[in-house]
């Protein structure tokens, strides 16, 4: 098995001639959980979308476990975005089955059942997603992203709109996902909750990563500590 990991090299992205990411480089190792912090509009979502190959960068490249071919990259990535990516009139099971087929998962029934269990939706698997709360949709979204057992997991503000139970569910899930063979990048505006789970923290400001260090060495960067206190 190839080691998981993300290497972003010199990525630049401009929207309407305004640079959002400016020659940005970032490396996330196999088994790491890196939390990406930065103000609203700093470019966290843009960076995640470029890594997920949903947005094209103006320059630079992203390499996954040694490969940068688009199809292999998409096979390796699970992405939890702001939006749940579901068809609201279909049930949870039907949505998961749709994605299982697109990912050509050999035993789709097993994958869907596991996904329903992962999301804790055993009693509502046949209900339309339209009837789900934000927390239920987010749990299902995480199950969808994990359906094909990705080696790269990207989560964009995963705690937004979650109630305490759903947030606790996500904490446990992230703990269980931190293991060799997987690299996780989480974008968060208010990352305090994630600092107990993450192995690394990266600070995105002015289109660049201005700090990137292990969480246990956070005290070495007073500016980052101050920033985290400000946004808390």
């Amino acid at each position: 098995m190839q080691p998981a990991g993300i290497e972003v090299r010199g990525v630049t992205k401009r929207f309407h001639h305004q640079p959002v990411l400016d020659n940005l480089s970032l490396s996330i190792g196999d088994g790491d959980i890196c939390v990406l912090v930065g103000a609203n509009g700093a470019g966290k979502t843009t960076l995640l979308r470029i890594i997920a190959s949903l947005t094209r960068s103006d320059s630079g490249e992203v390499i996954f476990g040694g490969t940068n071919t688009p199809m292999d990259a998409r096979r390796a990535i699970g992405y939890v975005a702001h939006q749940p990516m579901f068809y609201l009139d279909l049930s949870a099971a039907e949505n998961l089955r749709h994605y299982a087929r697109l990912y050509q998962i050999p035993d789709e029934n097993e994958a869907v059942n596991l996904g329903i269990q992962t999301a804790g939706l055993e009693n509502t698997w046949d209900k339309p997603v339209r009837a789900f709360s934000r927390g239920m949709q987010q749990r299902l979204s995480i199950a969808r992203a994990l359906l094909h057992d990705p080696t790269i997991l990207l989560l964009d503000e995963p705690y937004t709109g979650l109630d305490q139970d759903a947030a606790h569910f996500l904490d446990e899930k992230l703990h269980s996902l931190r293991q060799p063979g997987r690299a996780i990048l989480l974008a968060a505006h208010r990352p305090q909750r994630l600092l107990t789970i993450a192995s690394h923290i990266a600070w995105l400001k002015d289109g660049k990563i201005i700090q990137h260090l292990p969480v246990e060495r956070l005290s070495e960067s007073p500016e980052l500590v101050n920033y985290l206190q400000e946004v808390a």
């Binding site: 949903l54 975005a81 990516m85 068809y87």
Partner: protein, 227 residues
């Protein structure tokens, strides 16, 4: 599984998903059908044409109602993918993105064709003509195919725009003009009893539009959807 089989399976999966969503929501085809029927009724009662004039106008009215109804369906089809970011879900999947285009295009084609098949007997009733003619069905299939493949491509192009609902018809109607002209001329010829030999050029133009717009989708769909 061979790559081409996988490609076809992806197209079929998208079509199957669209049919299921339509069956559950029933928000696309019924609206298209009601809208096209309203056009038939409005024209029929507003114009009060003589039977001779009606015969000449049947093909034009049929295609106007189909074009409007299909545009509604195209808007609904792309909004379905946009409303919860499901399009990103499709683009994230390890599948050829042109297969997404063909899947969406085929769904739109099937839904519009279904509306057309319901419309035909109603037109026949109003305008006292039997419209179930094999050549007319062929014109419908070729015309709807070209219109929906161009429409799917333009709907993808307009998805990021704030005015997407208005932008689609504004882009689509002028660009689809060759398709509509050829489809109306071919249909009018069939209804008035002209032979296939006489109408060959219109059918070939429709076929060329089908090939051109599907090739454009194959080449440009991925580029259009990437930000």
């Amino acid at each position: 599984m061979k790559p081409f089989q996988r490609y076809l399976k992806t197209i079929w999966q998208i079509v199957r998903k669209d049919i299921r969503v339509e069956w559950r929501g029933r928000q696309g085809i019924p609206v298209m059908l009601v809208f096209s029927l309203l056009i038939v009724f409005l024209f029929n009662f507003a114009l009060q044409l003589s039977p001779e004039l009606q015969a000449g106008l049947t093909a034009g009215l049929l295609w106007v109602s189909l074009a409007f109804a299909s545009t509604l369906g195209l808007n609904r089809s792309i909004n379905l993918e946009r409303e919860t970011g499901a399009l990103d879900g499709l683009l994230l999947a390890p599948v050829d993105r042109s297969a997404v285009f063909f899947g969406k295009s085929l769904s739109n084609f099937l839904f519009t064709t279904l509306v057309a098949l319901v419309l035909l007997p109603i037109f026949g009733l109003f305008y006292q003509q039997n419209l179930f003619h094999p050549a007319l069905i062929l014109a419908l299939l070729l015309g709807v195919g070209a219109y929906t493949s161009l429409g799917t491509l333009l709907a993808a192009l307009s998805i990021q725009a704030r005015t997407r609902d208005v932008l689609l018809p504004v882009l689509l109607f002028p660009l689809a003009l060759p398709v509509l002209i050829a489809a109306v001329e071919a249909s009018r010829g069939v209804i008035s009893g002209q032979s296939m030999g006489e109408l060959q050029s219109w059918f070939l133009l429709l076929l060329a539009c089908d090939i051109l717009f599907n090739a454009a989708g194959l080449m440009f769909f991925e580029t259009i959807l990437e930000e």
